[in-house]
Structure formats: structure tokens, C-alpha cells
């Protein structure tokens, strides 16, 4: 096995591992205490108040489900190429796409919060202490890059002319 093959496989595995566990871990607090999460969404002052409670109930579960599918998908997925699609690969792809959409939305609202100079706890990520939106914005951009690496992994492999992963 070529060295670059191993390195590329490792990068993709770590991307999946890090992204999925981040989403799973970040969702747990919100699932346990949706009321606090709803108040944090309210602080952004970007969505109508009637939607905050609903989002605070559903979004953490979506994060958890997508994170778990992504995490277990890589262990159950024996694909050799994008054309060889089994059910695990399909759901893994869907979960990753939903994660990309969520990250784009998070980046959008964090950018607005940063531009407006809001001194609020962003209510996201793994930190138990107050995290400012600007710090979380950087983290979300890194996570978005990881999710794009996962999404386009077959193209990356082809680019480096490696046939299997």
C-alpha cells in the first residue's frame, strides 16, 4: 500500500471521527436542557421567538442522528468507490450533507452576531465556559472544511490517482 494512500485514508478517517464526535457531543447538553438552548437562540435575536423553542427541541436530535450515522457509517461502509453505493454509504452521504447545511447556517448566524458585536455565549460546541461567537465561527469554518473533505473524498482520491479507500 502506498504511503500517500495510507495518509489520505487516515486524514479522511480522522475527519469523519472528529466531525461526527463533535456533533454528537455538542448535541447531548442541548438534548438534556432544551430550555437553556432556546434562551441562547433567543439571544441571537435573529429568529422569531415562536420558532426558538421548536428549533431547540429538534435541532439537537438532528445533530445527534447525523453525527451517529457519520460515525458508524465509516465502520460499516465497505465501498470501494462512489458508484458502489450501499445503504450505509447513502445515509452517510445524506448525514454529511445535512451537517454541511447546518454548519453553513451556524456560520451565517455567527457572522451576523460577530458583525453586530453581540457579547453572548454562542451556546455551541463542547466548551462548558462562555464561548464568544468569533471563536466558534473559526471552529465552524474548520468543521465545514472537514465535512467538504468527507463529501468530496472520492474526487480527492481520484485526484491523487488512488483507486481504493
Amino acid at each position: 500500500m502506498q504511503l500517500r494512500h495510507i495518509i489520505l485514508k487516515l486524514i479522511i478517517f480522522l475527519s469523519v471521527y472528529y466531525l461526527s464526535l463533535t456533533f454528537v457531543a455538542a448535541s447531548l447538553d442541548k438534548i438534556i436542557d432544551p430550555l437553556s438552548f432556546s434562551k441562547l437562540i433567543f439571544n441571537y435575536d435573529i429568529t422569531p421567538y415562536w420558532i426558538n423553542n421548536l428549533v431547540a427541541l429538534i435541532l439537537p436530535w438532528l445533530e445527534l442522528i447525523c453525527g451517529l450515522i457519520l460515525f458508524f457509517g465509516i465502520f460499516f461502509n465497505n465501498n470501494t468507490s462512489k458508484n458502489d453505493k450501499n445503504i450505509f454509504f447513502q445515509y452517510e452521504e445524506v448525514a454529511n450533507n445535512i451537517i454541511i447545511l447546518m454548519l453553513i447556517w451556524f456560520i451565517f448566524i455567527l457572522t451576523i452576531a460577530t458583525a453586530r458585536g453581540l457579547d453572548i455565549d454562542c451556546g455551541c460546541g463542547l466548551s462548558e465556559t462562555k464561548t464568544l461567537p468569533i471563536i466558534r465561527l473559526k471552529e465552524d469554518i474548520y468543521l465545514l472544511i472537514l465535512s467538504f473533505i468527507i463529501k468530496f473524498r472520492f474526487k480527492i482520491i481520484n485526484f491523487f490517482k488512488i483507486n481504493t479507500i
Binding site: 434562551k39 421567538y49 427541541l57 435541532l59 439537537p60 436530535w61 438532528l62 447525523c66
Partner: protein, 187 residues
């Protein structure tokens, strides 16, 4: 149909999240309302501990009834200033503040109901929050004065009187003096 078929797996994951989320809601109790803010009833007067919760949780709009100079020197976090002198002058910025409170906190859908020569305000969606007003200290009566002017139905002092009644207001009697000594010195 093709659209649904194409994005079937997306719908499955989203619907699954909605079902589990709603199932979780069943166990959350009455304080977690789905499409409106939790309804918290405040008494006519709030004490320091209640005020602390209101400020930290950003539960209700807060009005500072002191003069603008004192407000600029220091005020309770997120409070709007309504200086009675500027209110008499029909100050443009102040009127904007008042209209912001009405629109931001959802009072616009309130309806005036007239029955037997008297009228009352009905909170149509049951989504309104109490407004808390404070002044310097218990001996200061500017809070009461601001409330009565705001509720003037002539709309000369803004359109509060059109959407709110006296029951929508609570007064933090301790005022800025108590807040400054108890809260700001501790934090």
C-alpha cells in the same frame, strides 16, 4: 413526487428528529411551550432576586425611567431609557424605542376589547411578556408616572396605550440604587 423520492432520506432523518424532539417535549413540563414564550406571571412589584433572573435570562423588556444623563452613566443591562421630559417633548428617538418594544416583544397583535363602556386589552396569542420599569429607589415615583403616560390612549406618548394595559407592567421598587449596590458590586 420525484422531489420527495429524490430527497427521501433527508426527509426520513428530519422527520425522525422531529418525532424524537416532540417525544422529548412531552417530558419537559408546562414551562416549555412549543410556539410561544413560557408565560411567567409577575406581581405588580418585583424584588431584587426576581430582577436578577429577569436581567440574566433576558426574560422581559426593561424600562429605565430615570433621566437620560443618569441612564448614560450606568443602567441595568439591556434596559431602554424613557426619560419623562423627552416623552413630553415627543422625542423621535424615544418614540422609536417605544415602538421597538411593542414590535420586538409581540404586543402588536393585542386587541382592544370594549365591553359595557369599559375596555381591556386582550393578548390574542397569549405570547406577551411583562414590562419591568425601574427608577432610582422606592421613594422615586417616575416609574409610576412613565407607566401612566405610556398608557395614555391619546397616543401622544407613543402607542403603548393601544396594545398594553396596566397589568402588563411591573415595577422594580429597589431601582438603580439597590441594583448598583447589590448586583454590580458583586459581579
Amino acid at each position: 413526487m420525484n422531489f420527495i423520492k429524490k430527497y427521501q432520506k433527508y426527509f426520513i432523518l428530519i422527520i425522525l428528529s422531529i418525532i424524537i424532539g416532540l417525544f422529548r417535549w412531552v417530558f419537559l413540563g408546562n414551562e416549555y411551550t412549543l410556539l410561544s414564550k413560557p408565560k411567567i406571571i409577575l406581581e405588580a412589584f418585583v424584588d431584587f432576586e426576581q430582577m436578577k433572573g429577569i436581567v440574566e435570562e433576558k426574560l422581559f423588556p426593561i424600562i429605565d425611567a430615570r433621566d437620560i444623563e443618569s441612564f448614560n452613566e450606568g443602567h441595568i443591562k439591556n434596559a431602554f431609557n424613557i426619560d419623562i421630559d423627552y416623552l413630553y417633548d415627543n422625542d423621535e428617538k424615544l418614540m422609536l424605542n417605544i415602538n421597538n418594544i411593542i414590535s420586538k416583544y409581540g404586543y402588536l397583535d393585542n386587541k382592544i376589547i370594549i365591553e359595557d363602556d369599559s375596555f381591556y386589552i386582550r393578548d390574542t396569542n397569549n405570547d406577551n411578556q411583562q414590562i419591568v420599569v425601574y427608577c432610582w429607589s422606592p421613594s422615586c415615583d417616575r416609574a409610576e408616572e412613565v407607566i401612566s403616560l405610556l398608557l395614555d390612549t391619546s397616543e401622544y406618548f407613543g402607542s403603548f396605550g393601544k396594545y398594553l394595559s396596566k397589568n402588563n407592567f411591573s415595577i422594580y421598587r429597589g431601582g438603580w440604587d439597590e441594583w448598583d449596590s447589590l448586583y454590580l458590586n458583586k459581579n
